[in-house]
């Protein structure tokens, strides 16, 4: 642990001292100290709900600390609001994007700091400036596109441009990598590095320890609202960080037992599906999943994975092709019919799709089976059974707080996910489609979720696992297909493929072409 007592407050870009923040029922920050040196990338890590975002929101003026002091470059400040924070050179990229969906990229960037010509917005000039910024830092964005039409990766870059446009010297990046692909993460890291070289200070929040090790200089670890550690990257390793975060030993590698899969259970034949804009998103793909097998789907987001999962779970119309389930053609069955056949689904956007935030946990725990016995009988809900069942799930899945009557929307993001996972995993699935199961989860929770997925497999469930985390796909899947622009680039076994080969397929190279060129290479074709 290194907190250098010789350094003066002036040497820190950000110096937060004894910050305490109380919410009505939660003590989110408890006398937290955070010291960030000028020009460094300082990582802030900790379990879900540890209080990281809360701490940063206070630095950005969104919340007022209950007590404690903040110094910027040694000067004691009272941050009245975001406007004030911006004036003090602080920029923040929030965990949940703060973008206005129906405005363009340029409009989002200039919002609040608009320039005008005779009272009229000078959009031309703004476009130019945004373009210049994006070129300078390699943040590729389409300045005229509406936010709702661009992929999340680009949205992330827009968020960063927003802070740069306002001339921020201190950048807070709250989980900027959670929704990005490995390539995009590399790009972001390059940008962060460039910014660091430009003398900017960055506070970087992430749950991915290898990222933290890769990019940051110093690390502050939080747990249950308190700081539990403060280390330099050079003096630590992933395992130690994980232990500091969770307060116990964490297994970072999954332990997958070999298993013979059963018969073919799910079969997809030349499937075509359109996206919301009526463009073909899944363009004729075929695959099979056997009982007790995990089929991983890798690929950069926006290559048809979401549409594929939605088509298989009844949320999206199948344009053409066949979908067989246990030998039966179930193409275009509706959600309820598919659920009746024991197909369950953990969707990508859990907050939007998988729960009613205003419902108490006990209602969310039975969603999809709410009309079936024992939860309902002849159209009437059986609350006793519902309570009993959800108590059990909340206990089994360690949802915190363990209160079935609390509205799900008031849980922390990680715990909301647990509710969804608990429900879908416990709904006696025979086939489950899982998308991005560990997005935004802390290491402890990831460990738990991974084990659950493997349990499903071991219980003979057919599993479709969509993830952008290469490592996750590689460690959990029995077989992997890689999707690019709605097509399958190739099917591989995790132990027979290199990360490079995966990367090439995700970038649109067919497996057989890759194999051919490597063969050429090894046969000395390239001299």
């Amino acid at each position: 642990m290194s907190s250098n007592p010789d350094l003066n407050k002036k040497d820190y870009a950000v110096f937060m001292e004894k910050i305490t923040k109380e919410f009505p029922r939660v003590l989110a920050n408890d006398k937290v100290d955070l010291k960030v040196k000028k020009g460094e990338i300082h990582a802030l890590i900790g379990e879900n709900g540890a209080g990281k975002s809360t701490l940063m929101n206070q630095l950005y003026g969104l919340y007022k600390p209950t007590s404690g002091e903040i110094y910027i470059s040694g000067e004691k400040v009272d941050i009245e609001g975001p406007k004030d924070a911006i004036k003090k050179g602080i920029g923040m990229v929030h965990q949940h994007f703060m973008l206005v969906d129906n405005l363009t990229v340029t409009e989002n960037v200039i919002l609040g700091s608009e320039e005008t010509k005779r009272g009229i917005l000078d959009i031309k000039k703004a476009r130019k400036e945004v373009k210049e910024l994006s070129e300078k830092y390699g943040l590729k964005v389409d300045v005229d596109a509406n936010i709702e039409d661009i992929p999340v990766g680009m949205q992330q870059r827009v968020e960063i441009i927003k802070t740069l446009y306002r001339g921020a010297d201190i950048l807070i990046l709250d989980e900027p990598t959670a929704v990005l692909t490995p390539q995009e993460i590399d790009e972001i890291f390059e940008i962060m590095d460039k910014l660091r070289k430009d003398g900017k200070t960055i506070i970087f929040i992430s749950h991915k320890l290898h990222e933290v090790m890769q990019i940051s200089d110093n690390i502050t670890v939080m747990r249950l609202g308190k700081v539990t550690g403060n280390v330099s990257v050079k003096e630590t390793n992933e395992k130690q960080l994980a232990n500091m975060m969770v307060g116990r030993e964490v297994v970072l590698r999954v332990d997958k037992k070999p298993k013979e899969p059963g018969d073919v259970f799910v079969k997809v034949d030349n499937l075509k599906v359109r996206d919301n804009r009526k463009l073909e998103a899944v363009r004729g793909i075929s695959f099979e999943i056997k009982k007790g097998e995990i089929l991983g789907v890798a690929g950069v987001a926006g290559n048809g994975q979401t549409e594929l999962v939605e088509a298989l779970t009844g949320l999206r119309e199948i344009e053409s092709g066949k979908y067989f389930y246990n030998g039966k053609d179930v193409s275009n069955y509706n959600v309820r019919e598919l659920r009746e056949l024991h197909i369950t689904h953990i969707p990508e956007d859990r907050f939007r799709y998988a729960m009613v935030q205003e419902y108490p946990n006990y209602y969310n725990m039975i969603m999809g089976r709410h009309f079936k016995e024992p939860f309902a009988y002849r159209g009437f809900l059986n609350h006793d059974e519902i309570y009993k069942y959800s108590e059990k799930l909340i206990k089994n899945f360690d949802v915190r707080p363990a209160d079935i009557t609390q509205n799900t929307g008031t849980l922390s993001g990680g715990n909301q996910q647990k509710v969804v996972i608990a429900r879908e995993v416990s709904a006696e699935p025979e086939f489950i489609a899982i998308a991005q199961p560990t997005r935004g989860l802390d290491v402890g929770a990831i460990e738990y979720v991974h084990n659950e997925i493997l349990n499903l497999r071991d219980n003979n469930v057919a599993v479709l696992l969509v993830s952008m985390e290469l490592e996750e796909v590689l460690s959990l899947s029995d077989r992997i297909i890689v999707m690019y622009e709605g097509q399958i680039m190739g099917e591989v076994k995790p132990d027979e493929v290199t990360v490079e080969e995966m990367g090439l397929m995700m970038a649109g190279k067919k497996l057989k072409d890759i194999k051919m060129s490597t063969e050429l290479e090894s046969h000395g074709g390239d001299k």
């Binding site: 029922r25 959600v335 419902y359």
Partner: protein, 359 residues
């Protein structure tokens, strides 16, 4: 962890109660300003609302239709639909009840009453379903379509009572429905009656409560209202539930129409709904869209209106009561003001952050 806002269990009752109190206080100032005595005025109002058997009859008569349209609008809100069309649905309900009711001459009451009532429910339900169907199929906003349907119903009823259904010379009105189709009075006070419609209305409130709280249908409707995406994901059909919500909501408004016809007027005339459909919005929202809350809010408003007639006798313009209603509703809307006041007085009593005195 310090818990510093204690939950006050009777808050849901306290807030509207204080809203009424504050409004009466503010209105007292207005009454003083016009040179009258607020105490006499309020005493008269109280008498007029609940002070005699006659006032009870008057009060309950008003309450019945208010309760039903309040339920109609509130039910829609719970399922995420803003049914601003209870007015038109009530009109159509009344029309249907008349169409059936006038033909019940030789039918015994046990059959005639449910038949006539059902006709009203179906009328309202079908009328509302037009908006529900348009919303489900084409996404047409229910606020537009229900407003338009209100006007269509209004012109239609005017047409009917002056044309095909007209009886008599001076009055544009329909014939009376058969006696067997009329709701018997619970209590008769001179020419006033406490119509048994109130029982129908309260039963409806309880049924709505059960639907919302105890049935899978309620579970699904509310889920669609809160988060249609999640509902769809959970295998709940959005379009089916929107149409269903509109149908039930409209059915309740239609029931209001038929109960008003069967219990109060025994016929329809132009604009017989008397803006009850719009009042329903107020009632629903004061009752926080909760069927049981709506019973109380309907009674509150009907009492105010019944009481206002007596206030006139001591020289208070009837419009004062409208103003009082407006202020009450404003306070209900801004219940935070009252909650803040409550917590402030609580804090003054015991200026510590610690809770724990919850008993």
């Amino acid at each position: 962890m310090a818990t510093h806002t204690r939950r006050i269990k009777w808050m849901p009752f306290l807030v509207p109660l204080l809203a009424v109190l504050f409004s009466l206080l503010i209105s007292a100032i207005i009454i003083l300003l016009i040179g009258e005595n607020p105490l006499t005025a309020y005493f008269e109002m109280f008498k007029g609302a609940v002070g005699s058997r006659l006032s009870w009859a008057d009060n309950i008569t008003k309450m019945t239709s208010l309760l039903l349209t309040g339920l109609a609008v509130g039910f829609g809100f719970r399922a995420g639909v803003f049914n601003i069309g209870a007015e038109g649905q009530m009109t159509v309900g009344g029309i249907m009840a008349v169409f059936v009711g006038i033909n019940m001459g030789n039918v015994p009451s046990v059959i005639a009453i449910p038949l006539t009532m059902t006709a009203g429910i179906i009328g309202g339900a079908v009328w509302a379903s037009i908006a529900g169907f348009l919303k489900a199929k084409t996404g047409a906003h229910e606020v537009i379509s229900t407003i338009m349907l209100n006007w269509v119903a209004y012109h239609l009823s005017n047409y009917l009572v002056a044309g095909p259904l007209a009886v008599g010379q001076g009055v544009p009105k329909s014939p009376e429905i058969a006696e067997s189709a009329q709701l018997p009075p619970l209590i008769t006070v001179q020419a006033s009656t406490v119509p048994s419609g109130i029982i129908v209305a309260i039963v409806a409130a309880v049924v709505v409560y059960i639907i919302l709280q105890r049935t899978t249908m309620g579970y699904e409707l509310k889920a669609v209202g809160y988060n249609p995406y999640a509902a769809e994901y959970g295998g709940i059909s959005i379009s089916k539930n929107i149409v269903l919500t509109m149908a039930i909501s409209g059915g309740l408004a239609g029931l209001a129409g038929s109960v008003e016809v069967m219990g109060v007027y025994h016929r329809i005339f132009g604009a017989f709904t008397g803006d009850r459909g719009f009042d329903g919005i107020t009632i629903a929202l004061i009752g926080q869209n909760n069927p049981i809350g709506i019973i109380f809010s309907a009674f509150l408003i009907s009492s105010l209106r019944a009481g206002s007639n007596s206030m006139q006798s001591v020289g208070i313009p009837d419009d004062i009561v409208t103003i009082i209603q407006g202020i009450i509703i404003l306070f209900v809307a801004a219940d935070r003001i009252i909650k803040t006041l409550i917590t402030r007085t609580q804090k003054n009593k015991k200026p510590s952050l610690e809770g724990g005195e919850d008993k």
